[in-house]
Symmetry: C2
Subunit: 218 residues, 2 copies
Amino acid sequence: MRPGLDPTLYLVTDTALSRPRTVADVVRAAVAGGVTTVQVRDKDASRRELYELTLAVRDALAGAPGVALFVNDAVDVALLAGADGVHIGQDDLPPAEVRALLGPDRLLGLSAGTTAEMAATLALPPGTVDVVGIGPVWATPTKPDAGTGLGPGGVAALAARARAAGLRTVAIGGIDAARATSVTGVDGVCVVSAICAAPDPEAAARALRSAVGTAVAR
Amino acid sequence: MRPGLDPTLYLVTDTALSRPRTVADVVRAAVAGGVTTVQVRDKDASRRELYELTLAVRDALAGAPGVALFVNDAVDVALLAGADGVHIGQDDLPPAEVRALLGPDRLLGLSAGTTAEMAATLALPPGTVDVVGIGPVWATPTKPDAGTGLGPGGVAALAARARAAGLRTVAIGGIDAARATSVTGVDGVCVVSAICAAPDPEAAARALRSAVGTAVAR
């Protein structure tokens, strides 16, 4: 059976921004503050480092059974570390192939930032993808190549198509607690620096969760 | 059943050194010249690019059924692309975990360049690893972080331990046709630039194969 997924407040980890704290420390605090889903992402890590990082985050989530754990890109690491799923971008392995490797009992997230990418996502066999990451909402320093931003209206338009097809949606890119209130039409918001770079990740998560609760369509 | 493996002349691909030719073109020529095993390696490629590169090389090997195809590091790519095996370094996923993901019917190669790394390799459960890459024999520009070189004597000493345990061995690092004749005590030699950067990869492979044939213990 596929694990449950509550994407209301979805944290994507950033190892450099988390320093001097460990990623696991930030995750633990963020979950205490209301984060509902965690994705381990570290494009600079070796496969071994990403595996060990994922194990550490999995341990940090042991007391939070409802929080799904995704690994960015590395299907092998997700399988070995016992994560709940994988999140892939448009440059990663093809979604249908990733689903074949994952089997039916894990979650698959996919990024889609254009009408064409959303159409390709919706053309996949049902059950391939569980959640679509839509963005960037705004330009973001953690992904400088991700473009200038769709804006909340652009995100809501793409999300409506995915939701009509039964997929969950999260908005990503440049979201903080102030901006989160203007994001609508999605099942949740993703943040990176708004939590990983915060002096108090738990307080930052709490503020975000409160903002999301008043804004996001559930 | 695990695929056959003839590591006599083992080509590790380098996308940049192969240009303006494609890697698949270089592989096709190299196999015509006598290469017996191919490993696809591209540390700069996205997971998707590595997958597509591996498919292209697999197609190039379609007429050479005895040539085993390895993928460097990415177990997921190897599984999806139908490669014969994976080669991992000391910074990649742990060997026992990789074997668990690969299952019994694929090959696993592991790099070991020190006595301690060889001891760890030999302490793995039997059947985990099939072939050990020992090096660098000499300092090599394609892996500037790999150290100053074990020399042929150092390689032979490490290889003897692996061979006593029933593992196949290949020497790697700075090997060209002239130097290949001084490499002994292994089952084969690995090359990167000696073929990928050669003006005529088929001729380069033929010269290497001839040199290896006179030197390597089989």
